[in-house]
Amino acid sequence: MSGLANVGMPHNLREQPGSSSYIPNFLSDNGGDTYTTAATQPTIQDYENVFGPSARNIKDDPQRFKRHNRWHLPDFLKGANPWLTDKVDGLITDATNSPFTSVILPYRYFDNPDGKIKWNVHSFDESMASRVPYESAARTLTQSKKSYAGYAVRQGLAITLEHNFMMSPKGRENFNNQLRQLVGSIQYTNDFDVHVALILAPSYEKEQREKYISEGKSSEQVCR
């Protein structure tokens, strides 16, 4: 609404919000037609749609009535965001349907990422019982235990978003695409990790060959 249209109007009518150019027009959603984008003042709900429940704690910005070059992210939304973390975690572990991290080496949550990962492989191979003379001790079965250890690796990726992106359809679409890109990239990395784990895992066949020297093959046959 143009302010010029109010010239000569009674004072009480001029007081009405949005009716005068002399009073800052807070509720106008077109910024007096000066914005070059469709960006508007985000509401709590707008923030909550993207950033989750923590948006409810946003306090009013005392500078909010000033003209903005850019929208600053409310302080309360900065930093770690468990709500968004859960969403992205879920997209990665449940929605990617990668056979590498579901069929071959399935995802498993572990809560001690900074510590050493240790695991043991126990082997209780069955073997033949042997004849035992009367009143003598029976042969003891062999068993083996191998201990392995490793560390988890910290990795990360980031995305860049236009300020106030959630207030325009293109911004939301861009956010959606970047989120998919992030999830896909992390799954891609995890798939790679599974490939590497599979090709670099110790060879049981080699172990067996080292343990049992000959399988009755000649050198020519081994070469083949």
Partner: protein, 431 residues
């Protein structure tokens, strides 16, 4: 080597491999395999061969299978999972970690004979998928060495290879050995195993998504960090079968030869050979000439031979894609014989250090991960045809090495574009 290019050499190869693996798992007392990780090209063999898609044999199902392509969810009780390709090197396209470059070697022996001047010796050129011929004059030119280290008579023979100049006795004493040490192909492998938590997990935790406001650049951002590690706990539950199918040919099996007399050629050959990070494009043939004593000549060589042989050291070689065994190769030595010794030593000194390449070679997993080639000091006998003056084939030696027999048309098979079909599918009555 039995598994090298196994898929293209045998019908029902994947079926045989899968059953062999199941049997091996039983021997190891491991759980039955549940998945097969493979490049999608290998499932062509399961879905798209004429035997599986023929209308005569399978009716509309055969045609449907052909249209479906290589996608197949399970086979012989295994989940078929196709590998992904990953972009690992800057500026290079994504690559499959079960595809790797492998060099193998072949040798061709031309025994001394008084009639050799009347023969043509044909070797297979995989780059052009055809045969090329070498005469005695060609071989002499290729075997010449600088500095006259060979015996005077042998050197003179190589310098002036003319039937009229030498009497039959001399001609009948000259032996040639051709080695192609760097025949390189891209080969595909598969991993068969029992998937699930008993075999391993992708451990995943301490994820965090942080939101930030970058006032410097006027943007917002989200940073996602996580800890992860894919681990195979129980290696008994999986088996890797490397190099079971050809995917493409790089080089090393053509008609280019190392000119021993030219330092640039020798140095270039050394450089190309020692560079294991790039597909091989260098010279193929090393030609050596000898004049062994007829009484001590061993006409039957083993296959393989140790073609790069430090005669002062015991011969041992790592064999198997995973370097599974260190083999005593004494019986494969041929150049330690007195009849070859002095002349061989001259060629040996001009060759790249194949020993170093072989002994420092990584196992298949590491070489695939780091995109490096593996190579060998053992050479198997390759295919060669000998023709008489009239152009008739008077002897054909069939290769017994990694590649088996060479023939025109096999290049496309070794490029991963087809399978060796040994017979036409027959219609049969099924009960």
């Amino acid at each position: 080597m039995d598994l090298f290019g196994f898929l293209q050499k045998n019908q029902n190869a994947l079926d045989i491999l899968i059953e062999e693996v199941k049997y091996r798992f039983k021997q190891w007392m491991a759980p039955s395999p549940s998945f097969m990780l493979t490049n999608c090209k290998l499932t062509f063999a399961l879905q798209m061969t004429p035997e599986r898609t023929s209308y005569v044999l399978h009716g509309p199902d055969g045609v449907k299978r052909l249209k479906q392509g290589p996608e197949i969810s399970s086979y012989r009780g295994l989940n078929i999972i196709h590998t992904r390709s990953f972009r690992l090197e800057t500026g290079q396209s994504a690559r499959d970690l079960l595809r790797r470059r492998v060099r193998v070697a072949e040798y061709y022996r031309i025994l001394p004979s008084v009639t050799n001047f009347n023969k043509q010796f044909e070797l297979y050129n995989e780059g052009r998928d055809g045969w090329f011929s070498l005469s005695m004059a060609d071989l002499c030119k290729m075997a010449r060495v600088p500095g006259g280290g060979l015996t005077a008579r042998l050197q003179r023979f190589l310098d002036t290879p003319n039937q009229a100049t030498f009497d039959a006795q001399i001609i009948g004493q000259i032996e040639f050995v051709i080695v192609r040490p760097n025949i390189e192909h891209n080969m595909l492998g598969v991993i068969i195993g029992s998937g699930g938590g008993d075999t391993g997990n992708t451990l995943w935790g301490q994820t965090e998504l942080a939101v930030y406001d970058d006032s410097m650049h006027g943007v917002w951002g989200m940073s996602y960090k996580y800890h992860s590690r894919a681990i195979v706990y129980e290696c008994k539950n999986l088996i890797r079968l490397w190099d079971i199918a050809y995917d493409s040919y790089n080089g090393g099996k053509d008609d280019k030869w190392v000119n021993w007399e030219d330092d640039d050629s020798v140095n270039k050959f050394k450089e190309d050979t020692m560079d294991v990070t790039q597909p091989y494009r260098g010279d193929s043939m090393m030609v050596m000439a000898f004049r062994p004593d007829a009484n001590e000549l061993n006409r039957n060589w083993p296959s393989p031979i140790v073609f790069y042989d430090d005669i002062n050291q015991p011969a041992r070689a790592l064999v198997g894609a995973d370097n599974t065994e260190k083999l005593d190769c004494e019986q494969f030595r041929v150049f330690d014989a007195v009849v070859y010794g002095p002349a061989y030593q001259i060629y040996y000194n001009l060759m790249p250090n194949f020993h170093e390449l072989h002994y420092t070679r990584k196992d298949a997993g590491n070489s695939a991960h780091e995109n490096e080639t593996t190579s060998d000091v053992l050479a198997f006998e390759g295919s060669m045809r000998i023709k008489n003056e009239a152009g008739q084939i008077i002897r054909e030696i069939e290769g017994s090495g990694h590649h088996g027999k060479d023939f025109t048309g096999v290049a496309s098979v070794r490029a991963g574009k087809g399978y060796k079909i040994t017979g036409v599918p027959q219609a049969i009555r099924q009960a």
